[in-house]
Symmetry: C2
Subunit: 314 residues, 2 copies
Amino acid sequence: MRARPWIEAFAPATVSNLGPGFDCLGLALRARGDTVRARRRDEPGVALLRVVGDGGALPCDERNTAAVAVAALLAAHAPGEGVELELDKGLPLGSGLGSSGASAAAAVVAVDAVLELGLPAAALVQAARAGEAAACGADHADNVAPAITGGIVLLPSLDPLRLVSLPVPPSLWLAVYTPGYSLPTAKARAALPTAVPLSRVVQQASRLGLLVHALHCGELALLGEAITDDIVEPARAPLIPGYLEAKAACCEAGAIACSISGAGPTTFAIASDRGRAEALLAILDEAFAAAGVAGDGFVDQVGGGARVTTGLLH
Amino acid sequence: MRARPWIEAFAPATVSNLGPGFDCLGLALRARGDTVRARRRDEPGVALLRVVGDGGALPCDERNTAAVAVAALLAAHAPGEGVELELDKGLPLGSGLGSSGASAAAAVVAVDAVLELGLPAAALVQAARAGEAAACGADHADNVAPAITGGIVLLPSLDPLRLVSLPVPPSLWLAVYTPGYSLPTAKARAALPTAVPLSRVVQQASRLGLLVHALHCGELALLGEAITDDIVEPARAPLIPGYLEAKAACCEAGAIACSISGAGPTTFAIASDRGRAEALLAILDEAFAAAGVAGDGFVDQVGGGARVTTGLLH
């Protein structure tokens, strides 16, 4: 019997929340992400054969985010079909870069291609959300949506799911730094307030309105003004050693904005060109190293979504 | 001694909140508003000489919104100057049409002209907010800001005050109906929840983001989707007899959106042309009449801000 062909898909890292966009806004990066290979198998359902790049931390079975997302995809759109997967982790775990979301996104895009389903983005996001629920206990879509569609995505409704692509200012650069320790999303979510005073609700909503306005106008200074968060950031900052010092140093150095990526500890800063972003990256490195949690970072722009990266391989 | 010349200014009715924009979004109407005449006097400070059109309900002294706003304006920008005012109420009191805000806006614009101060909009809004605080106990700016600047205004920050003008879709029409009874703003504010679950915060913020996006795209259908409010409307709807029935009838008739204007009881519905707006107005009239609170309404579009309406009259 001839071996079934593998199809490989890549899904990018994502920065979610972006200040006031907690649980409803995210953007796709370009440089880094996860890769999933998928191929048909005779037996129905999904099998994850291999995970590399995770240091052995992730389950290589049906509990893995990628497998959960694909199981949801098959159940909804291809019952009776079977696929097997291999996952290459390019993203660090528990980092706030949408690592679990990237695995789920790459997996559903690979399987959509293998089974020639041609599903719309919203259906892929829905399946990938099941993976997020398995990974962190909340089926938030602010990582998987940009990981699948690319760009900057607003989620004004989760049920029914609504994806709104927002304009991306071409001069938007990010310095993205992941301190050298892991913060499980579940722990970062547990730190959140359960209820918020009404005045803060107004503040948060109006800032997200300003953020959307800033993207439409392409005004980075307004965007920086909008990326302020008095609800989630104060709750999570204490979980991230060095964060407040790093933010202060970035702001002093002229960063347009600096905030926590997703649930953290990854921290991003915004600049209007590559050179300034690299300067901010050096500042982030210095600040987190001083806090004893030196890590790794990169500069990047907003990029495209998950895509098939090889043709049929053999 | 030659009589000092009067200058007259008009400020429009405003629809604030617009669903998810509670306390941070408002728009100016065209057709109706309040008028203030102002002229210099020798004695420092402000005197309100006459109020007409209020049925005797408003104080004709320094407690009146218009006088409070002008007192704040003088204190901040023209200490030692004196003015006297006459106020013509064109708007019903406690209606949710920004009645107190229109008085304050017209007053500060008239006095700015009389004293030839040439103040920027933000300074006029700041003074008018003092009038709002006197009228309803909260110095919210979502009525006075659009009453002064016109258009649709987002307020992403109150301190420092930030005004952001949003695009106005040219096909945006409103049916605006004021049921035949008054709801004091203070009572409507007392009905609000003091704290909001975090998931609702996300929902509210993302809807305001969608609303801003819809205005930039000029897509009324998206605007309608965005004008949904699960925080303020559920708290205030029980205070407005007939509201839920009126809203249901409007939505069934194809309204793009229907919600409470400001603190209510005025109810607005959105349509994409004058004819549809008039049909919605008839539906609102029928529904509120059936609830025993027949009132008065009009159709209108978004209009300009407060302005001097006469030259020197004397």
